[in-house]
Amino acid sequence: MKRFSGFLCLLLLLGAGCGEKNEMKEIKVAVTPASPPNLFEENGKTAGIDFDIFTAYCKARGCQLKITPYDWQGMLGAVIGGQADVAFSGISITEERKKVMEFSKPYMENTWNLVSLTKRNIKIEKMEDLKKYSIGYPRGMAYTAFIEKELQPKGYYQIANVKLYPSYNEVLTDLQNGNLDLAFLDGTVAAVYRKKLPIQDSHVFSGFDRFGFAFPKGSTLRVDFDHYLDQISGPELQAIIDRWIK
């Protein structure tokens, strides 16, 4: 029924102002439900670490979530353009993004893993070996800045040699097909895929990547959400994360 009314909203070209008017404040959320374990869909329902954190926040503050799924670029665009009050799907905090949006305090440390098929058994012992392999990841990810700032100046890897894909699905499919040697994955994403696919870490970069919730510039919601993160930081936050990463 909810889906049907949502469909009607589109049909009537309303977009905004649909649904029953509620006393509770409605927060418009942009997500990309192809980012397990931070955000994905289970039987058509939104789930994941980021979703749990923000749902808990909303429960504490008495507000309602209106979730709209976008593709990755659309999600970031929705925050920048103000169509969404907040975006979360394991979004890395980067200097580039900070220019156009605001981030909450980091809620998760993330590693960046270069993974290969187990049967290929690629191990990157020296950074100099990296240029022998092809590296791929989804378009719009923070790895680009990382390669440009950290690897390219030292001559370890050229950004021009990177293969870009629409999402992790295609990256991993190409990896399995043998068209790609190494896939750049979040540590969290890698943990999910390691359970289902014969892949292994070839190299792990750490200390570069933190996840944050993204807000439009000047968001008061961000200030309040940061207060909330401070309150739950420590065991409470870790418990939510551990629920999805064992």
């Binding site: 589109l10 869909e41 039987n43 799924p69 659309g74 665009g77």
Partner: protein
């Protein structure tokens, strides 16, 4: 997750794909016909303006236009809904291409018939609606179907602005089930089904309006 469940979600996405496609096609038809009619009704100045429109909108990538409309216009205080954004980007681009298709078809309408209608005393608009458009539309069927198919293939951009069409469902499902091959095969079949539906619809319309001996390729 069972495959029937996957299929149900994909079908739900197909509904949105159809909605996006049909909305953009209608937008395209209205603008395309409008452009052709205005070009016939008014002088060189208007024609030049319309030529500029078709030139620009055929040149801008749909995705860029979509970003300008959906993420850019709110900066000016205009907040188009996702579907309207698609109509204002993909729909208007479709209109620009259709205007060219129509122009080609219009050239194939016998100028003597147009003059005969004018000499009878019909107004320009009456000539356009009674003589030029009915013949032009019949001649433009293959080109129109081409454009409609292009719109269908661009409909996944709807996901960029938050319309949960087939591609969105596929990406979300593939990321959790890792059954990418099956899912994308099903997606391919669904798109083909929608394409066939469009073809069937066009064939039905074409048959209804078929004129014996009138040149249709």
């Amino acid at each position: 997750m069972r495959f029937s469940g996957i299929l149900a979600l994909l079908l739900e996405g197909a509904g949105y794909t159809l909605l996006v496609t049909v909305s953009c096609v209608i937008t395209g038809l209205v603008t395309g016909l409008g452009i052709v009619a205005l070009r016939r009704l008014f002088g060189k100045g208007v024609a030049r303006l319309l030529a500029l429109y078709t030139y620009v909108f055929r040149g801008i990538p749909v995705l860029v236009l979509l970003f300008i409309v959906f993420f850019g216009l709110p900066g000016l205080g205009i907040r188009p809904s996702p579907l309207v954004s698609m109509m204002l980007s993909l729909g208007l681009v479709c209109g620009a291409y259709l205007a060219e298709v129509f122009r080609g078809a219009l050239d194939a309408v016998d100028p003597h018939e147009i003059i005969a209608a004018e000499v009878m005393g019909l107004s320009r608009l009456q000539v356009i609606l009674s003589i030029e458009f009915p013949q032009m539309l019949r001649l433009a069927v293959p080109g129109m179907l081409n454009e409609f198919t292009t719109v269908l293939k661009y409909s996944p951009f709807g996901y960029t602005v938050g319309i949960p069409e087939i591609t969105k469902q596929a990406m979300a499902l593939a990321s959790t089930t890792l059954r990418g091959i099956e899912i994308y095969t099903a997606v391919g079949v669904l798109y083909f089904g929608i394409y066939q539906l469009l073809c069937l619809l066009m064939r039905m319309i074409e048959r209804k309006f078929r004129v014996p001996g009138f040149a249709t390729q």
